[in-house]
Structure formats: C-alpha cells, structure tokens
Symmetry: C2
Subunit: 454 residues, 2 copies
C-alpha cells in the first residue's frame, strides 16, 4: 500500500484538503495531525462569540472531529504536533500531547500550519488580562475573563480586522473601548477613504480612537491596569492585541522548503512547494495575486478553503489549480460594512507597474424615493494607460457585499469602461438604476478621459 | 448654425441622451419632444407608489422639466408628440396638445418612444376599474380608484414583474388578490426553480394563484365585477392587466427605419438605426445580448439610461458604444427577492448554439452559526463544451442582488471553473466562506466533470 496523504494542521486548508481528497478517492489514506483540540473552526466567528451573537464556541465548528473520522473516513489525530519534516525519507516527526514521538511516512504532504498572532515585544505582555485572539482557546479565555472580572474598560492594540470587530464586541458587552493604532489610520488594506468613514463611526459609537499612537507596554500588579504610551498612560482592565498575524513556517523552513518574498511558504499554481510531494495552503502559504501576478500573503479563510480543496483534488489524482487571490475582504464595524478587493494602495500599484488613478464617490444603494436609501462610499482604482480596474473599497451601512462585483471584474481583467457597461440588477427595493459601482465607474471613466486630454 | 439634436420621448433614454449631450457639448442645441406631461420618471417605482411606500407620484421624477430647461439648457417641450419622421429632409413633424403642427429639422435624431402595455383583445377592457400600468397617469388612476372605490378584491392578469409587484402592493392596501397566468409559471424569464419559490411565497401571502389559466375578458355593469375564464368566472372589484409591453415603433417603421427580429428597432453598437443620423434607444430599441451576440429586446431602465447616455456622447462628438445587455433583472415579491441574468432557458440556449447544463442549489447567505442565515436558491447555467457561464437565477429573502456577481461573470465570459475560483468577500455577518454563488459553481463544475466521464 502507498504511503498516506499526510496533512499538518486541521483547520480550513487541511480539513478541506482531507475531505476533498477522500471524496475524490475513497481508497486514499488521509492522516491529519492537529496540535490542538479544535479542527475545522471558523476563526472569523470568534469576535461574534465574545460579542454574544454566537452562543457556544462549539457552534463555530463546521465539522466535528468525530464526523471527520466516522463519516469522512479521515484519520484525524488531534493533540498531535508535527515537529519536523524530512523530505529525503518522506516522513514527518510527530509529537503527541503526552510527549510520545513517532515517524510517519507520507506519499504527499500538505503543510497547513496556519498563522499566529504577532506578539510585539511589549512590556507586561504576560500580565493577566492581556490577550491575543488567534485561537479558539484564546476566544474562550477572553470570554471567561469578561464574565469573571467584569472589566469596565478595554484597550485594543491595532486597528485591523480583529481590532475593529473586537471594538464592536466589547462595546456590546458594556465595556468602554480605547483603540490604539500606530499608523495614521485603521484598516490599512482598505484605503484612506474607507478608513476615514469607519473611524468617524467608531468614535460615534463611543470608541476612544488613538491614531499614530505607539503602545509601549502594559503595567499592573497581577493583572493589567494601564496601557503605557510614549508620554502618557491610559487605565484599562483588559487588553486585546491584534496587530496582525505571521505565518507558521518554521518546520517548513527547517526542512528546506523555500519561503517566498512575503515570508510565507512559496507555492506554484497547484499549491506545490519547492520540495517534491510537499504542498502548502492556507495562512502559512503564499497565493498568486490576480492583479499583479506576484506572490501575495492574504491569510483569509476562502483562500485557505479553496486552496486546500484544490490540493486535495490534485493529490487524489486530478491536477487542479488553486486559483489566485484578489485580496477580497469584508469587515463589520458596528453598523457599517467595509469591503475591499484588488490593489488600492497607490504605492503598491506603482510597484506592480501600474499608474493608479482613483476616485471616491458617495452614492445611494436605493433610489432617492425608496425608503432605506443609504450612502455607500466607493473608492475605485484603475490603471491609467490600460484602463484596467485594479481594485476597490466600499463602506456603508448597507451594500458592502457589492464588492463582489468589482472582485469579479478584477479577476476578469475588465477595464473601467467595461465595468461601467455591466448590466447589473435594478429595481427600486434593491438598487438605483445606476448601481453605486457603476456610478463610480462612470466618474472614474470621466476622470481617465479628461486626464487624457491634458 | 447646425440643426439641433432632436429627441423623441422624454423618459430614461431620451433625457439621459439630452443631459449627456449638453454636458459634453454645451453649444449643441438639444430639443426633446415628449407627448405627455411627465419626463424622466421612474416607472419601476409606480407599484411602490400604489403600495404606499412612496408618498407622492412626483417623488418618482428624477429631474423636473424646469430643471432640464433651466439648469441643463435642454429645450424640452412636453405635450408635443412627434407624429412623423422624414429622413430625406431630416425633419420631424410635431403635433402639440392644442392641435398645432409644425416641422422641426434635425441634425441627429434619437427615437426614444418607449414601449406600451400590451392590451389583449379582452371583452370588457373598457370597463371602469380595468387598468394597465405603463404610465404615471395610469398609476395615479389606480391609486385614486382604490381610494375612492375601496375595492375588496383585485384580479391581476399576468404573472410577470408588474403582476408580482402589484400583488404585493394591492395586498398591502388590504385587497384580496387573485393572479391569473396563462403559462404554467410566473416570472417566465427567471426560470422554473425561482418561479416555484416565488409562487409558493405568493400563496403563503394570501394570493390566489391561477396558473395555466386564460382570461377571456371582464364583465360588469359600469365597472368591472367579474373576470371571465373559460369555464368559470371570478368576482373582482379591480383588474390590473400586466401581460408585457410592446415597443412603440410605429413612427420609426413608417419612416423606413428597420426593425430587428424581436420587433423592436434594430440598432448597431453605437445605437444607430438603419437610417443615417437616426439613433434609437430604450424600450423601443433592440440591444445586443452579451451572451448570444444576437439582438435582444430587454425593455429595462438601466439599458435605456446607458444607451441614451452613450448616444448623447456620440452625437456630441465622441463615438461611444452603447454596451450590451445581459438581461439582468431583479424583482421584489413580498418578502422575497428574485433575480436573473444571462440565458437561463434551455431552449433559448440551444437556439444560440449552446448545450446548457444547469444546477439548482440552496445555500445560506451567512454561516450556520450567525443569526440571519437565510437560504438562497441559486440556479446556474453553463455551456457543456466550453464551460462558459450562460446565466443564473436567484431567489431568497436576502441576497438576490448577488446576481451582479454572475452578471459580471457573464459579461466577462468566465467559465464555471473561473467563477468557482473568484475571491469573493467573506465575513460571518455578510456571507459564509463559500458564497452561495461559489457553491453553485462548485456543484455545477462537479456535474460538468462527472458528465464528461460518461
């Protein structure tokens, strides 16, 4: 019998690969090693558990370990950590929670080790009441801490997805939130116009927003009591540090697997690494950006799921491309939805060889006469010479999911004129005649033309 | 001075062309003849006026006649009907409401005469209480009739957009609605799966639905009292006939302007008719279907607006293509949204040279653990040999506007695999990891593959 398909890491990428490989080839032996207890969970749902929208942490689990084992015939071993990969002998070294060690040969290997929260060298990171939020256990710990300690104030370090979602969650729990962001704006990948709208809204919702403010550390006796800034300190009962994630590449790197320019594991169009029979997918791996054609590191759930699924199909015998990423993302910030796709940042666009031109407009999501017409702020970016749509960002109380239209255009390489000419759906309860996306394309098209004449 | 740009008809296509032409070339003289009082109104909003969602009929007017005249410098003449076009002398004959007649020379002419409600030869069509709904005056008349006569029951003839929207509007007004559709299903262009969901919902909402039921006419003394069927008659206090529209092509046809295969005015990619310097746009004209490449007649507002705008730009000196139609449409049916794009109908797909393969799935619009997860029914159609996405139909209480993703894919000529690989936006409040569109693409992709193996 052949050596099995071995998967390192039991979340989105790994379990998608395992399930798909078994479905495609029920005879294939599939072994998954997961170092923790939890598999196949929706990390993106954790803020909504803390907020109280989701009752049980278990609700975030899509498929339980027993279901994987019994219904999908996957040999899933939780509390098993892969500590080394030996590409020469095609084996991995596994360490159990009990301290046992063994070798497991593989026919094909998928590295799906994910990412972990970045922990800057803050003083007092080990104080009680200071948390990151990148595991189910951490989500449970935050929730328990709030229940037991009843914090009145919280400091959120970092104005990214986790920061914004946790600001909403903690406010909902009755906690006064202060948010500290080192950069001049929150939600960096969403561009300035969207960030500005979100920031105004955070303040309206009572969040104390400190932009361009570096946190130096945390003070307190046993538990955290203050956030230390350069010239000041702010009292707090709870700290959430959400300053981004870093890919878990150590075992891959030690095995001689090449990392890419982003620091994540380099992969080809089938998710293969530089080492034969070794694949990588999910938050530890790069994907190809569909706009730039360059490697990108976008640690988001859909890419992990899709890439894992494609690799599962490939390993089961049908070579399948993993598809690229447009970096599409959406985030709820209290009453707002903010979304983005493609390349928005001018500098990044120029690095990729484009000459970015952009507009930001406000347009209603319904006709003026229909109740519930709400302004959506749309930023649309295109390349001057080709007219190609590079990316977009949206923010508003309604309609942020319209980003999918631009994501599809970005994938398809549409120009602004082609975007403007899309036949999108109109009826008064759903949209104005000119969808906000089309209005943005009209305005950007006009700008490209008028610039041509100069 | 050159002869002016003359526009026949002051609604979406005509006024878009007028405004855009003046913006592009403020020196251009633009004359619009509109036979009625109303210009630039949202006909699609009329059911919501009758329903009571929109307070004033005037609210449906986007730009008033005075605004066109004073701010946009358009020579707009309401109550002026163009009764003849003479291409040889490049003049139109105009008749005013007062019975005066005069000739108006044109440099360029846009025929934007719109469409009118089809009036089948029903007995008793002239009874009081029997209405079509294709003008602002008709909407006002229906509203007044309900106010004054307080009908208890209404019969809607036709299960298309108008029928479905009016069923909701009249039910909201406290009227018991019966709907009569000659064909085996409602919302013909939306396909069977969507129609079935809508029909169940209409029944749930108390609509008496008569499918495959031909209406023969209406009986009553002065006002309507009964709908006559083949073997039966149903009492009613009000009748709305909404069995489709027919393009107003008479003056064009008499002037020797060619009609296309659909019976609407044939146009090229710039909206030009067969006659020099004569353009046509809106509900009276054909547009090119982006899937089939063939002429199509899709009398919807966005196409009218866009085509008019493009023609305005062309006439002002910058030749601009009008863009095609994907036949994208969306309609509200009580609590449901139903949407469609592209080619869904098997027969129509085959006529266009495709071999259609389709799936219908139900998928939630949010993750299972997030409140408000609602099933969306997605029908996706592709061509077997090329894998190209031909069209889709969606229906659900939430998320029907996601049709725009498929519309964009249809415009871009994406395959099912490419659709499945789109990086769409995911976060729990907005979508499951796999958007319902992606799930449909996965299932259809699987079907195409498994069929290949046969």
């Amino acid at each position: 019998m052949e050596d099995p398909f071995v998967i390192v890491g039991g979340d989105a990428a790994g379990m998608s690969a395992a399930s798909k490989a078994k479905r495609e080839d029920p005879e294939l032996e599939v072994v998954v090693f997961e170092k923790g207890d939890w598999v196949s969970y929706a990390a993106c749902g954790m803020p909504y558990y803390i907020k109280g929208t989701v009752d049980q942490l278990e609700d975030l689990v899509a498929v339980t370990p027993d279901q994987f084992r019994d219904k999908r015939d996957v040999d899933l071993r939780t509390n098993h950590e892969v500590v080394a990969i030996d590409p020469d002998t095609q084996t991995v070294t596994v360490e159990t929670a009990d301290g046992e060690r063994f070798e497991q040969p593989y026919g094909a290997l998928l590295v799906g080790t994910g990412a972990r929260a970045i922990e800057p060298p803050f003083d007092g990171f080990d104080l009680e009441g200071v948390f990151t939020l990148h595991s189910m256990d951490a989500a449970a710990a935050v929730d328990t801490y709030i229940d037991e300690q009843a914090p009145q104030t919280a400091a959120i370090v970092g104005g990214g997805y986790v920061g914004v979602e946790m600001a909403e969650a903690l406010t909902e729990r009755g906690i006064e939130v202060s948010m500290f962001e080192m950069l001049p704006r929150t939600l960096q990948p969403f561009g300035e116009a969207t960030a500005n709208v979100v920031e105004d809204h955070l303040r309206e919702q009572g969040v104390n927003l400190y932009l361009e403010t570096a946190v130096e550390g945390f003070d307190g006796e046993a538990s955290v009591e203050r956030v230390a800034l350069e010239d000041d300190s702010i009292e707090t009962d709870l700290v959430i540090v959400g300053v981004g994630v870093t890919p878990n590449v150590e075992i891959a790197e030690e095995a001689g697997i090449e990392l890419g320019p982003t620091g994540a594991i380099a992969t080809d169009e089938h998710g293969r690494t530089s080492v034969e029979n070794v694949y990588a997918a999910g938050d530890c791996a790069e994907a190809t950006n569909v706009v730039t054609g360059e490697p990108d590191h976008v640690p988001l759930a859909l890419t992990a799921n899709r890439t894992g699924r494609a690799i599962g199909t490939t390993v089961a015998g049908t070579p399948t491309e993993t598809g690229g990423t447009a970096g599409t993302a959406i985030v709820k910030a209290f009453e707002l939805g903010a979304a983005r796709t493609g390349i928005i940042d001018d500098e990044r666009a120029r690095e990729a060889g484009f000459e970015p031109v952009s507009v930001t407009i406000e347009a209603p999501t319904r006709p003026h006469y229909y109740p519930g017409a709400i302004e959506l702020t749309v930023t649309l970016v295109a390349d001057r010479s080709s007219g190609r749509v590079l990316g977009a960002s949206l923010v508003g109380r309604d309609g942020a999911k319209r980003i999918d239209t631009v994501a599809t255009a970005v994938h398809s390489g549409l120009t602004v004129d082609e975007l403007e000419n899309l036949d999108l759906a109109y009826a008064p309860p759903f949209s104005p005649v000119w969808d906000p996306i089309l209005t943005a394309a009209k305005v950007l098209g006009g700008k490209l033309e008028s610039d041509d004449e100069c």
